[in-house]
Each structure stands twice: as C-alpha cells, then as structure tokens.
Symmetry: D2
Subunit: 242 residues, 4 copies
C-alpha cells in the first residue's frame, strides 16, 4: 500500500468566498476524496498545523507527497522545506501541482527560478499527451479538455525535464510543458500544471487519473540507497600504491 500525504496551504479556501464555494473543505479534501478509490493510504497536512503537518514521523512514513501551495509559499518554514527536499532526495516521491511551481521545496530541487507567464481569464486549456506509453498517461485518450483554467505560458524556467508527458494549449495562444518528470537523488518528481483554486479541476476524473498515475509512478523502488565516500578498489591495482 502506498502512503500518500496531501499537503495544501489551505489559505484561499478560508478567505476567498469563490474558492470556498469550489472547495468547501479545502483542495486537499477534494484530492483525498478523488484519490480515495485507488487503495492509497491517504493523509492530509496543511500550513497551519504544527510543523505544517509534516513532522519527521509523517515525512518518514510518506511514500509520495502531493503539494499544492500558492499565496503562502513564504510562510512555509525553511526548515520544513529543507526536510521535504531532503526526503525527496532520499527516495520519497513528490507530485507538485499548479502554483506549487513556486514552492520552496520544488525550487530547491530544481535549482532554477521556476518562473513562467500567467493570466486568469477563464480560458480553455487542452492538455495533450506527447508520450503515450508513459505510465503517467495510462488511461488518457490523447488529450484532456478543461473548459476554464488559469493560463501558464512558456518560457517555464525549469531544468529540461527528464520526461515530457503533457503539453498544454491555451485559448489565448500560449503553450506550456504541463506534465514533467524529474529524477533527483533517489526520488521521483512529477510536476502537473492544472489546478487553479477557483476552478473545479480537482473533481475532473481525468485529472485525478493522472495524479493517481503520478503517485504510482513516483512510488519509490525498494533497496535504493547509493553508497558514497571513500571506496576500496573493486579490482586489484597491482603495483599501484594506494
């Protein structure tokens, strides 16, 4: 069983009526419900909890962490951010959603600004699969259409993804690398673009399917613990002085 922790900053939902209408119990609860049928062991965590809900105990028992944040990235402590990034390097999977592109853990793991273009205009997004045999695209038939979403546009300042799975078309003319995977240390990261807080994106079955696929893909392989440091030769060095 995969232990999934869904982290949501959970601020918009408390202070913006239009967001609360869409996600009355918070984005994290919509995700938890939406992923509930997959057999994952799901917990949630939010910014205002002690240690943002991400104690060592929680992090160490999490196989895959899902992250949504937007207006309160700065309120996530450096200490917890570093612990999250370190756990990824040690093998925990990480699914970063939408505005999580600017979260501290994601930026630290990418090493770049993670900046992009954006526009809130209720416009149509069409998410195309460019890697149909990838396990994250399993069950998706070519494309996903979202009638209203925020626009994110290129250039998206990330390292070249290890795998590009989805690319979005926006009505206003932009494109965006919407589904990107990255290996970092022993951990696997999947960035997935959609999910603005004012739209019901996280109730969409195809979006939930992709996130669920992402969780399964990012689930850490067992026995991954590379050795580092001083190392004896495998093969005799003969007359070489060590």
């Amino acid at each position: 069983m995969i232990n999934v922790t869904i982290w949501n900053e959970f601020v918009h939902e408390k202070i913006h009526d239009e967001v609360r209408e869409v996600y009355p119990d918070g984005l994290h609860m919509a995700l938890a419900n939406g992923l509930g049928g997959e057999g994952f062991a799901i917990r949630t965590a939010t910014l205002d909890q002690p240690e943002h809900g991400l104690s060592d105990e929680v992090l160490n028992s999490t196989d895959v962490l899902i992250w949504w944040g937007h207006m309160a990235h700065d309120r996530v402590s450096d200490e917890i951010s570093q612990k999250v990034a370190q756990r990824v390097l040690d093998g925990m999977g990480l699914i970063v959603l939408h505005s999580g592109h600017f979260s501290k853990p994601f930026k630290a793991l990418m090493g770049t600004s993670c900046d992009l273009k954006w526009r809130e205009a209720n416009e149509q997004e069409i998410i195309w699969c460019v890697n149909p045999s990838h396990p994250i695209a399993e069950g998706i038939n070519g494309k996903i259409i979202l009638e209203k979403e925020e626009m994110y546009g290129e250039f998206f300042d990330i390292p070249v993804p290890d795998e590009l799975v989805f690319v979005s078309n926006f009505q206003g003319g932009e494109v965006f690398r919407s589904g990107c995977t990255f290996l970092r240390g022993s951990g696997k990261i999947f960035y997935f673009r959609p999910g603005h807080e004012t739209y019901p994106t996280f109730y969409n079955p195809e979006i939930l399917k992709v996130i669920s696929n992402g969780v399964k893909w990012a689930y850490p392989a067992r026995n991954v613990k590379p050795e580092f440091g001083f190392s004896e030769p495998v093969r005799s060095l003969g007359n070489v002085l060590v």
Copy 2:
C-alpha cells in the same frame, strides 16, 4: 572576445608542499596560462580576495566562470555563492572542475547532494567520448589517458545530465560520468571531472582543449532574456471575460 574568470580557492597550494610543487602559482595560474592561447580575456579570482574576487563588477562582466574548489567550500560565503548561481541563471556560463562538484553554487544549481565515491591511489583514468559530434569533444580523438588521477565513482548524485559527453574508466574498476552538461535558466553549465590538486592534469593539452571547448560552448547566446509574469493573450479570447 569571451571574458573568462578562473576561480580557485587557492588553499592547498599554500599549505601542502606536494601541491605547490605541481602548481607553484596556484591551479588558477596554470589554467590561465594553459588557456592563454585561445584568445580569451582571462582574469583570476581566489577565496582570500575581498568578496572572493567575485564582486558584482567582476561577475557582471564575466561570460564564463571556471570554478575549482575542494577543502574550503564552506568558507565561500552564502552571499557570493548565491550571486554566482544567480548569474548563471541569468546567462553566465559555468565550468565546474573536479572537486568543485561539492561547491555551493554547483549544489544549489543541481538541487542534489552531488555526492560520489572517491579514492586517491595514483591510478590510471581513461576518459572516453560518448558523444563525438559534441562541440566540447572537438579535437579529442576518442579518449584521453591520464596516468595518475584520483578516482571518482558512480553513483554520482546529480540530475540526469542534459548531455553526456565523457565517461571515465578507472583502473580499480569504477566508471564515472566525467563530462556532463546542464542548462539552468539562461546559463549553460559544464562539469568536467579531472583535476586533482596533486597531479599535473591542468598542464595536459587535451584536458586544456576540453576546458577551452567548454568555455566556447558555455558562452552565452545573445538576446536571451525570457519574459515572465502577467501576460496579455496573443490571440483574442473572443467572448471570454478576462
């Protein structure tokens, strides 16, 4: 003309006789002399200079920065490290040599531990080209043999390189991804493995050729300044409310 700044921590050479014998004026001067015939405008900078020799003026007028450090990574200030990383994201090329894999700017740009296996045993390294049409391999005929070098072994905990140019074979049985390129922001990074301080590696013409090729490759293309932030639609949204 390419403005190159060669940064060396310049500590070993002052306190270890065996290093000073090989590089009496410092590694940076050997590199400066070795690259002198390429027509670069070369400056050097070292740890003990004010701002480690990397003032805003120096950084802003540097096209490509070469970095060698080993025993004093921690003495490089966080402020200067961040400025270096930011300049790379803004377009400055970066050549990281050997033990610079553990330098603060490189680690920040990679987002991983950058750890590896190592051994000092005077053993032979053979550096093979696995990407013969890459400009960094220009003039190298298949392989470079170094009779004595420190061993670095896999797993090298870096992100998957954008391009793999060289792979090393060590006498004791290890392999290492020795020549790796990375795009980060608007900047290009080349990591090149050889160059332990007790060996005359930086007098080797083929090693100098690769570093020189790397400088030319990392030289920033002009007119690269991506736009970010709010963006008007390129194409009319029709009846969509913005």
Copy 3:
C-alpha cells in the same frame, strides 16, 4: 564557409497554381534567396534531376542538407534515400522542413512512423521557444507568429528529441513539438515544422533566421570519425589470456 544544399521535390509548384503564385521559382529558390545573406555556399537540388540532384559528388561536398518534400516522397529512390541517411550518419547536417517528416531519409534515421495529426484551415500558428539559450533560437524573442499555416498536432510519432527548442500552439487547439534536434551517428538533425506550400512562410525573416541558425548548429564538427571493431586493450590485462 558552410556548403549548404537545399533539396526540394519541386512538384507542387509545377502543377498547383496557388503554390506557384507563392513560390514561382520553387520553394528551394525562396529558401536559397532567403538564406543568401548568411555567407553560406548554397546549391539547390530537385527530384527530377539525375540522381535527384544528389550525386555522390554533391552529397560528399555538402555540409548541411535542407530537405522539403510532400507529395512525392515515394518517387525518391531507395538508393538515394539510403545515401542521404548514410551521409548524415557520417557527419552531414540535416534540416528537415515541414512535410519532410514523412520523407524516406528522415523516417530511416528516426526508426518510427513519424506520423501526426494535420488540418489545412488557414489558422494561426504561434511557435514558442522552450529552450531560450539554444543556438537555434538565437535572435528569436520568445515566439514567432504565423498568421496562416497548416496545423500539425500531437502525438508526433518521433523518438524523444535530444533537445526540444520550439513548441507550436494552433488556433484549433492543438500543440506540436515544432523544433526538435536529434544526434544520429556523427550527424546532427534539426526538424522544423512550419512551411506549408500554400503559405509564404519561407519569406518570413524569423523563420529564415531559425533555419539559418539550424544550419550553423548542424555544421559538422571536424575530426569526428569514431573507430569501431576489434580493439586492443588500452591497459595491460596482466595474467588474462587474450
């Protein structure tokens, strides 16, 4: 000086009035004129010439071949197609334009069907740069807008490109990986999507700039001739029996 050969099947222009109106002397002549200011040594070749204009002498003295074909792919002989592909593996650069995705040499070098979605509907294409520091994007400011082009849509059945430089947005909702590089053998390949025969795309200065950049990028590095076959050990095998 870079020796460029521009190959055009040159059939549409002879039999379709609307194409001849746009390219009265053939697409190849528009390209030759448009690239004329770059200092290349330019020749052209067409299907109906002996050996399709691609004799051994022409191929062997070509540094970079530009290829446009559409309705007569099958009329290109297997022999010449194989020679073109072999020359690429031996180091010649190749720029494949638009409907050249279905040409015999490109398909042989890719190993896939190279199929895609398409539509001729006079719709707007916006070509976005997703790799701003790439030399092929030099001088392009974020995007290129073509008011009317044929649509090509994903899934584009190519191997994962070594580098993705441009991605297109089409008015009807599709996206396409429009600028892709591939290394094959000692040769460099750049596929660039735009250029339907009924539109004046090859008079567009930005399109010509990208093609010109592509030629410079694909220009073969010197001294690339890998060795293959039986190989003596570099390092003594000691007591091992060879």
Copy 4:
C-alpha cells in the same frame, strides 16, 4: 500475466562445442529457465523454425520479446525483421541482449549503425548502476561483477538513450553504456550489453534479475493507440475558413 517470447538464433550452440558446453539446450532455454520463477508466460522461438518462430500469431500475442543473435543476423528475413520492428512501434516491448545490437530489428528501430569496439579476452566486466531509482535497477546493489565477458567499448553508435541505467567498466580500460532504454512509437526497448555465448552470463542471478526487471518495465501500458491523420479542430476556428 506478461507473455514473453525469447528469440535466439540458436546457431553457435549447434556448431561450437565451447558454446554448447555452456548452453547445452541453447541460450534461450537458459533464459527461459532463469526467468521461469517470475510468473511470466514464456515461449521460445529460433531462427530455423518456420517464420523464425515469429508468426503473426506469436508476435501479436507477445507482450515482450527478448532477442539474442550474433552470427546469423543476415539470415533473419527482412519481412520478419520488419514485422518485429512494427510490432514494437505498435506497443510490444523489446529486450535486446548483447550482440543483438547488430540485429536487423534493432538497427531499424535505432536508425544508426549500432557499431562498437569489441575484444574477446576473458576480462572482467563491472556493470555500474547510474540510475538507482530506475525500475530496471530494482534489487541491484550498485554494481554487478562478471568475472569473464567479451569487451564492448565506446563509441557505441546508438541514438542518445532516453535513459541510461548501467555503464560498464572493462579491465582493459574501456567503458560502455550497457543498459539503455529507448521509446519508439508505442513500444519500449531495453538494450542490455552482457551475454557473450561462451560465458555463463545468463545463469547469473543478477543478470537474470535485470532482464526480468526489463520485461516488467517494457510491458506495454494499456490503451495506447495514438490517432493520426486529418483532425477536426477541438476549438472553434471562428471566422477562419476551413
């Protein structure tokens, strides 16, 4: 259950005593036995069978094909080779072992010469994992040591692999990209270097583990059937004339 077909040219074992001693029933039977505990549904096929044992019925009911060939590549018919390559593009997984690098289906899918350096000298090969979180490396602890193998050395003339999983060190000084994955069409390909016919490599539990991992990795995702050809707009083109 994964339907695996193991194809072996099965010539060496019939005519070379030293090979028959190692693989008295053929390499394919050693592989079939070695993979038997994984729960795969395993069939074998060999060159001398009608249609080389690869009838349409067999190919169409094969999820993953394992291929070993060496001295009789030319005796595999073009027709069957093309069917194998097409089935890979249509989604069948393919595991190519050792000298299969020169097989017709692999070369057609790669588009390159697939040439390399080689030497038969009973020398030690150490296969290092450079991608420890990859599912194909699951259960492998850093490296695999084979006391005697044929040497394969770089440059290996393949396209840049989509993923590099293993790199080999040979006693004589060479390196080789030993574990490489490629996506082609809807199919997944894993090339794995070891397995010369005169050594008991295919009895080694770690080698069998990697091949078994490869089979599971290459098992085709369901529902992958991209659409191609003429395509109606997803989004209204408004006043644009179609």
